[in-house]
Amino acid sequence: MSDPQMPVTIVMIEDDEGHARLIEKNIRRAGISNEIRHFTDGTSAMDYLYNDKDGPALNGPALILLDLNLPDMSGTDILNKIKASPLKRTPVVVLTTTDDKVEIQRCYDLGCNVYITKPVNYEAFAVAIRQLGLFLSVIQIPSADEAG
């Protein structure tokens, strides 16, 4: 998010409003001020990613925060689609409650960049999100052109 010309949009796909709010708060607390677009289901998120004029496919780099448990489709399906599309270089951070070994392996196999388990303990959760925020502030995101 080092490129002031092309602000990186954070696309958050998370069905739990509370979680989304807590994640956003803690990312803000880490000093990240990028725009955060929140979607509670996979369909509208995919629509934004590929068809919206402000979406990453048509405009600007993005970083995706992805929950695996969604009402309309599985997070791994979304991950699979993203990584098999022109958006394949867009970093995807899987942020979910599942710490199943097989699930983690599958996500990395599908090309997820970071896998984070949501700690149940709120303090740990807040710390994890803040650390993710700090992490986001230093990583280099490929630009839209490169992504194309």
Binding site: D16, G18, H19, L22, K25, N69, T97, T98, D100, K118, V120, N121, Y122, E123, F125, A126
Partner: protein
Amino acid sequence: MEITERLFNRLMVGVVALGFLALLTAGVMAGWTVARNRDYTALVNHTYEVQEQITDLRLAMERAETARRGYLLDVDPRFYDTYRDAAGRLSATVERIGVLTADNPRQQRRVAQARVLIARFISLLDDSVGLVRADRLELARENFENDQSVGTVRDLRQLTLQMNNEESGLLQIRDHGQQDTGRQLIVVLLISGVIMLAVAIISLWVILRYTRDLNLSRRELGALNGNLEATVQERTADFRRANEEIQRFAYIVSHDLRSPLVNVMGFTAELDAAAKPLSELVDRVEQSAPELMTQEARDAVRTELPEAVGFIRSSTQKMDRLINAILRLSREGRRVISPERLDMETLLNGVHDTLRHQASSKGAEIDIKAPIPDLVSDRVAIEQVFSNLVENSVKYLAKDRPGLITVRGSVTGDRVVYEVQDNGRGIDPKDHDRIFDLFRRSGAQDQPGEGIGLAHVRALIHRLGGLITCESMLGQGATFRISLPKTLNPERGASL
């Protein structure tokens, strides 16, 4: 008709016995017929001999008569010799016939008559010939005209004819007998043949039928066997699916329960954080403008808000622990059981080492009574079972005596029985079943814990194909007895 094995055996024995009986009858009959034939041949030969002798007798008689006449006509000594020879033959032949027909009283009577007639005949002829030899030829010729020799000869002829007829009759009777025997033999052989043919056909039919039944039942058995295996596999698969379903359900539920819990805890933290500036505001207001301060606002910020947050916190933490317990049990259920040979003394000493500090701090002693029988089972599960049980014993000591925890084991058949015994506070017998249920505890709730230890232990023991029982009285210590298969069959273990 369904041929049972019993019926088949009986039928076969009966049929074969009948066959052999027929064969035996035929054989005996044939033997008997051969013997009868031999006897008959001998008898026929005998009859022919007798008839021959009778013919000889008649010939001799005729020759004697002819010789005498010749002698009377022409006194030639050759006629006399011939006469003497024939007369001798006559006597000899009649004796011979007498011997041959000794078994026939009718013939014997005739022979006796013949003897008398022959004696008379010979004496008549002797007289006649004697007169010729004494040169009284005229007298002899005269006597010849009227002596009784002609009548005697006729009688003798008659007699020999009767004798011959008698023998012929006998021959005919014997011939009939012979023919009857032959016919009997043929009939018996025919019947035997028919019986044997029937036996062969019945045997063949029965064997074919039985073989077909046998093949049919073998195929049915094979199909049934296949079905049975399929059924068992189906059931096992169903069972496993149900088990997996439960595990998955527990896993999903616990995860889905965690999700809102994160919110509750998170926003409680936010609330707590939000309470801080409020509290500061109340402090400031109290200092700078006490007239604005109300008791309700002070209480709300200083007491009620922190209290509410505190209760929400402790409750969510408890819920979190419970969810984690379910999650752990569900994970435990999903874990793959891998049996290996376990050196139980080493394993139990390891358990002892991890609990040594805890035990010594409470003044309890752990005694592992060697020898402990080894077994083939899952290491992690067995370790968890024993550390849970021993830890429980260490936790629930009696306050009035130093703790002593004893672990021992023995082999019973193909199972191993382990005991974890303590002298602790004991468990009320009415709680013996309850303590193995999830989240259920017994006695004074003075120890930390969620009530999952024994539930976990029982789930593990069941998965390992074992049983666990509790023996205890309140205040008198407790004994947990575990019975496990000496060698764990992973198929069977996993299905439990």
